[in-house]
Structures are given as structure tokens and as C-alpha cells.
Subunit: 194 residues, 2 copies
């Protein structure tokens, strides 16, 4: 039965997320990951042909969760979608401490590793397209003022990313969840037609 195999694979990936987040891609050794997962090196290389492939698998899973979130808000109006996003903020910032360094790790690796870059850039562009069309929809619906949807998309994503980055650097420097909510409100307000 392949259930045990499945479990092992999952344990490897979970351990990797934990260690990559805490120590970074380079510092977290394959041996460390194996120890954390409670398996042997042989098992590791049975499931993943290299450390990089494991990283790619992690990236894939992460992108999948985003895709799912987007899929879930498919048939809502533009403002509704934004409101739903703000509701996710508490959860995001709660879990940010653990997941964010991992996210940054993705970014950094992508800027240096061609393979990883190609695996990242396509979904990233897809998300930008989605956001752009969402804003365009809002403009066409008449609920948003007339802005350049592409530009607004870049700005919103930028604000979100920058906020997350700052919360990572200085978790106790501000009530980040509150800052994020107010920032979104401010952004959406400047977007909404009065």
C-alpha cells in the first residue's frame, strides 16, 4: 500500500518548510530535514531526486493554495473580493512569522536560479493578470473610479508585499494586522467611486 509512502513524503515536505523558514534554503541541510522528519537519507532521495526538486515541490504547493483562493472568489463582484481579502488578513499575519521567511526564500532563490525563476514567474504573471482584470471589471461595473488597472494592480500587490516584509523584520514594531486593514481600506476607498 502506498499510504505510508505518501505520509513520508508529506513529513519530508513539512519538515522542509519548517527548516527552510527557520534557517534558510542553504543552511537547512538534507540531513537536518531527514532528522526532523524522522527518516533516513535514503528515504529522502527515494522521494525527491535532489534538494532543489523538493524546493520546487514546496513552491508548487504554495502556489496551489493561492490558485484555490482565487478560484473560490471567482463569481463575486470586485469590491466583494477585496473585502474578502481583508478578512483573510488576521490569519495571514498570524501565520506570517512561520511562512514568510519561506516566501522570501522563494523570492531570493528565484532571482538567482533559472529553473526556480521560470517556475515562479508564470504564476506571478497570472496573478497580476487576474488582479488587473478584477480591477478592470470593477471599473466597467462602475464601482471603481477610472484608473489604469495594471498600475493599480502593481500598487496593491506592492503594498501587500511591503507590509508583509515589514512585519517580518519588525513583528512587534506595529499592530500589522491593523495597519494592513487600514491600508486596504485606504486603497479601496481611493479606488471606489463615491
Amino acid at each position: 500500500m502506498q499510504q505510508r509512502s505518501e505520509e513520508t513524503r508529506t513529513r519530508i515536505m513539512e519538515s522542509a518548510i519548517k527548516l527552510f523558514s527557520n534557517s534558510g534554503y542553504n543552511k537547512a541541510s538534507v540531513d537536518d530535514i531527514c532528522a526532523e522528519a524522522g527518516i533516513s537519507k535514503g528515504a529522502f532521495y527515494h522521494h525527491f531526486k535532489s534538494k532543489q526538486e523538493l524546493f520546487l515541490a514546496l513552491l508548487d504547493g504554495w502556489l496551489q493554495t493561492i490558485d484555490n483562493a482565487i478560484e473560490a472568489s471567482k463569481d463575486k463582484t470586485a469590491p466583494e473580493t477585496f473585502m474578502q481579502m481583508t478578512e483573510a488578513f488576521p490569519y495571514i499575519f498570524e501565520t506570517a512569522g512561520a511562512g514568510l521567511p519561506m516566501f522570501l526564500e522563494f523570492w531570493l532563490q528565484a532571482s538567482r536560479d533559472k529553473k526556480i525563476w521560470e517556475a515562479s514567474i508564470a504564476p506571478y504573471r497570472r496573478y497580476h493578470k487576474y488582479f488587473t482584470s478584477l480591477i478592470k471589471k470593477g471599473v466597467d461595473e462602475g464601482s471603481f473610479v477610472e484608473v489604469d488597472p495594471g498600475l493599480a494592480s502593481r500598487m496593491i500587490v506592492s503594498t501587500a508585499m511591503g507590509l508583509l516584509l515589514q512585519s517580518l523584520l519588525d513583528p512587534k514594531g506595529a499592530k500589522w494586522e491593523k495597519v494592513a486593514r487600514e491600508s486596504t481600506t485606504m486603497l479601496v476607498n481611493s479606488l471606489l467611486k463615491k
Copy 2:
């Protein structure tokens, strides 16, 4: 004479910036840095007692340039300062490809290394304070609408950081300099009293 010593130290730091940017902190070995600088390992450890200390020195220099820029705009009005910042954008995005991974490296290391974190967090908070007081000044002067200066400061920094991050991931995905200029205009416009 200590001029040669000074030169060697500078060469080490320049080589380190180049290699850290291209390969990252971990992958860029001390040997690599020495080879790039055209000096020996002995010379390296004569000038820096460890690899981390070199990194800290780099961070220091980088923060210094920011401090200088702030100092230069000391006695201008708030809107003027913002306009001056937009003028620096072309230069920033031109050199971003080389310097940004290094910047991200700072960030990532800071989130994991207590020593580096302490060296980063103090200046970071200082900059936040500066921005906040700048916006507050603008509000008091009557040129800005009444916003929460702290919140606005976080937002502006976030947008800048997010934009830089995006330009790093996808340099050819947009005309980032233009996006940055328009974003600033949009932000300042929503801040300026009509």
C-alpha cells in the same frame, strides 16, 4: 602608509557586494571574495575578523548612504522631499538588479540572525520615525490632508519595497521606473490637500 590597507579593505567590500548579490551570502565563499578582490585569505582575515563582520560592515555602509540622503533633504518642505525622492527613482531601478538581491539578503539574514537584526532594526525604526515626522510636518504645514502619519509612513515604505521586490522578480515585466513614478504621484496626490 595606511593607504594600501584602506584600498584593500575597499576592494574586499566591493567584491563582497558583487558576489553576495550574484550568489547570496552563503554561496559566496570567503575564498571567492578573496579571488575577486585579488588578495589572499590572510589579508581578508586581517581586515575582518569574520565573514559576518564583513556583512555587518556592508550593512553599515548601505545605511550610511540612506542617512546621507536624509540629511541632504533636511530643510526642505514635505512635498519637496517627496518630489526629490521620485527624481532618484531612475537611478534606483537602474542599479536595482545588482543591489536588490543584496538588500533582500540583508532582510533575510536580519530575520534570522540576532546580531544582524539588532543592527538593522534601529536604523529601520529611525527611518520610520523620520517619515512619520515628515508627513506630520506636511499635515501641520497644511499641505497634506489629515491622515495618520504613522500609517501613511508604513504604506509609503511598503509600496516602495513591494515595487522593488516585484522589479527584482520580473525586471522586464513592466516599466518599473514608470510604475514607481506614477505610484508615487498617486500616493502624494491622495495625500496632498487640493
